[in-house]
């Protein structure tokens, strides 16, 4: 079984962090993984995207032409990347920053969640990314929530380990807001 996912947002939304988190969770499950980041030209702000593949077989290409899953955290990313997704792909959209419609992908399994608002509920706007990855994991079963949570200490710098409980809550909140595959 192979899971590939493409995530996009603007710098600061923590896209690359959850990309790493997902990949590490895969490793903890003994799977093969690849994580491939790509940034815009700008040094501050700008786009941040990455592709993660988690698989039982050897991972070939770390870049995917038509990803089977997408996590779209801002308007610009929707406009730029939605078209790439494979027909029938699951796509999580951050409705807090992305307007309704404005695209022609009736063939996708779209889920809109107000991620910024949900993060604020948890008391920290920076949790958008954790909620996202929680939702993704639950929905696709690419990795278990436990692996994600376990991987937190691998990807978070020592000094931020105190925030792990809060991140765990965010992951759970994300998971709770979607249904199993």
């Amino acid at each position: 079984m192979t899971h590939d996912v493409f995530m996009a947002g603007f710098g600061g939304q923590g896209i690359l962090l959850i990309g790493n988190l997902l990949a590490y969770a895969g490793i903890l499950e003994g799977k093969n993984v690849s994580y491939y980041p790509s940034y815009g030209v700008e040094k501050r702000g700008g786009a941040a995207t990455c592709t993660v593949v988690v698989s039982d077989e050897e991972v070939g290409s770390p870049v995917i032409g038509n990803p089977s899953c997408g996590l779209i955290l801002n308007q610009a990313s929707l406009e730029k990347y939605l078209a790439r997704l494979k027909p029938g792909a699951f796509c999580l959209i951050n409705s807090s920053l992305v307007d309704e419609g404005g695209h022609r992908r009736e063939d996708l399994d779209l889920l809109r969640l107000p991620l910024n608002e949900m993060a604020l509920e948890l008391g920290d706007p920076r949790l958008v990314n954790m909620i996202t990855i929680g939702a993704y994991a639950r929905r696709t079963g690419a990795v278990t929530l436990d692996s994600l949570k376990a991987a937190l200490k691998n990807v978070l710098p020592e000094r931020n380990h105190r925030f792990i409980p809060l991140n765990v809550k965010a992951i759970d909140l994300g998971a709770a807001s979607v249904k199993k595959p």
């Binding site: 030209v41 700008e42 040094k43 501050r44």
Partner: protein, 252 residues
């Protein structure tokens, strides 16, 4: 009843009216503006050829409304020499960062100066390699931590910050060499004058002119624009003394 307004500050015409890619608080933009002011002052926009270097200022041609040649990293003074010798009547300036000029380009700037090429050299010293993400430069201050001096620059292993304006001034071929900063209005005024004088040297065929400008790189210094600007005055200027080290045409 009418009111009359006279512009006291406007964008120079040599500088295109567009958004730059520079980070907030990056002083390349300001130094670009002062350079454009000098071109406007002498009315040479139409006859100027700029030579861009490799660094965060690589997009020179995006911002200046002039003809531009891109030089390989560190080689702008050599490229400019070729340009100037081929078009002696045009005004040719180079714009280089400290990694570009004081590291890989050491030989080219020294010999262009020593040959007394009729060039204007703008040198932006921000004590780091900005574009590549903040490595240690020959100008990095003792103790300054960078991507490649994680424990801070150790003068015993890494050597000392190099003072280019003084090195250039010491060469017989160089006619003008100064160091300025752009961290406050007073220094900005000085910097503007210095850059203008550096163009004057060329326009009047008086010799090679070199202007070192101390500038902030908030992003790679890991500081806010205000903190970074603070640091220029607090840490850079004490080591990199401001002043005119050579002004052959003038008294000095």
């Amino acid at each position: 009843m009418t009111t009359d307004f006279k512009p006291v500050f406007e964008r120079p015409v040599s500088l295109k009216d567009i958004q730059t890619h520079f980070c907030p608080g990056c002083q390349h933009g300001l130094i670009h503006r002062l350079t454009a002011d000098a071109m406007d002052h002498f009315g040479v926009q139409q006859t100027t050829i700029g030579v861009a270097s490799v660094g965060c200022s690589v997009f020179l041609y995006e911002y200046f409304d002039i003809d531009v040649v891109e030089a390989p990293h560190g080689r702008a003074p050599a490229v400019a020499t070729g340009v100037k010798r081929a078009r002696p009547d045009s005004v040719v300036f180079t714009y280089q960062g400290d990694g570009d000029l004081a590291a890989i380009g050491t030989s080219e700037i020294i010999h262009a100066a020593n040959r007394g090429e009729l060039l204007t050299a703008i040198f932006v010293n921000n004590t780091t390699y900005g574009m590549t993400g903040g490595q240690m430069a020959p100008t990095t201050l003792p103790g300054q931590t960078t991507l490649t001096s994680p424990e801070g620059r150790d003068v015993f292993l890494d050597g000392y910050p190099i003072r280019m304006a003084e090195v250039i001034a010491a060469l017989d071929g160089a006619a003008y060499s100064v160091r300025v900063a752009v961290n406050n209005p007073k220094n900005i005024l000085q910097a503007g004058k210095a850059i203008r004088r550096a163009f004057e040297y060329q326009v009047e065929k008086k010799g090679f002119a070199f202007v070192e400008v101390l500038a902030a790189c908030p992003t790679n210094w890991g500081m806010s624009p205000l903190q970074a600007n603070e640091r220029v005055g607090a840490e850079m200027i004490p080591y990199f003394e401001l002043g005119t080290f050579k002004d052959r045409a003038g008294d000095k």
